[in-house]
Symmetry: C2
Subunit: 195 residues, 2 copies
Amino acid sequence: MNKQIIEYLSKYTVITKELEDIIAESTFFKNYKKGTILLSEGNLSNECFFVLKGCIRSYFFKEGEEKTIEFYTEEQVVTPANYGKSTPSKYYLECIEDTVLNVANPTIENEMFQKYPQLESLSRIIAEEIITKHQTSFTEFKTSNPEERYLHLLKTRPNIIQRAPQYQIASYLGIKPESLSRIKKRLMNKMNSSI
Amino acid sequence: MNKQIIEYLSKYTVITKELEDIIAESTFFKNYKKGTILLSEGNLSNECFFVLKGCIRSYFFKEGEEKTIEFYTEEQVVTPANYGKSTPSKYYLECIEDTVLNVANPTIENEMFQKYPQLESLSRIIAEEIITKHQTSFTEFKTSNPEERYLHLLKTRPNIIQRAPQYQIASYLGIKPESLSRIKKRLMNKMNSSI
């Protein structure tokens, strides 16, 4: 399991044996059954996660309707917006598959940063990478119509479409389930007529 | 000018006299005229900015049409997606007002981080805050209709509406200028009929 974390971090910097040992000592893994709620709206959050296997979905309710914010799969970091703060969560985190997570909390993190300052530098670099990715996704979303959004998801994260129920995908794309069905039917017809 | 940066950083941590001096020594300010292009599509980026006064807009072209991604005003950090990398920029950065910026580059940043590791820790914390803000904005956008998006902008960043031309506001909201006009007219009518 640690190997997967080391591989992920190696994309950003050279991981020394020392850092590898610190990670092995300081992190721990947990298994969660499909359907587990990791964080509820209104609750405090003292844990952040790295997905080793499985899928986490974040969602909230707007006027009684469930709205999917994000899907996190293998090798993604999940830091709740209120992580380590005294503010309640505005959303839920749910395992939509049996999931294995590496779990950290502010105490573990601070200890690791103190033992190994290079790790804090690495965290900064990763956070900046995440900002860039978010910005790209937001721009992509804002400047696309629903069909383009679906095609983009199909191209960039095809496994999400296989792993999550249709109604979750629809709200993730900011559309109604009926619109998603129509888009899929339209694309299917296009494909068939071009064969 | 430095005072403004120190005030901004003080929101996140205690700024010692030592750090204050390092910032004063290492950073520099530049004045830009309205209309200055800070970064062009296809170019490398070796500068990041902190807005002291004025407004920067990021935009790109999609099928020949200008699409506004973001507006950055006082006390916002602007780090181009390709900052310090060997990849070309996918968008433009333009000063839409006369603007005063604090300018940094990777060399300055690394020197500052080495002299004062606490600054790197601070950068991590700020980057994580930015992630949270982006996530909130994206979710808000995805789960709102155009009128709600306009009202949200009016509530959270009313000065943007005053400072940027209508066509830029419209594309920032992911809608056509005609739709924005209609929304504004509708809201005006609602207001008038409720007086």
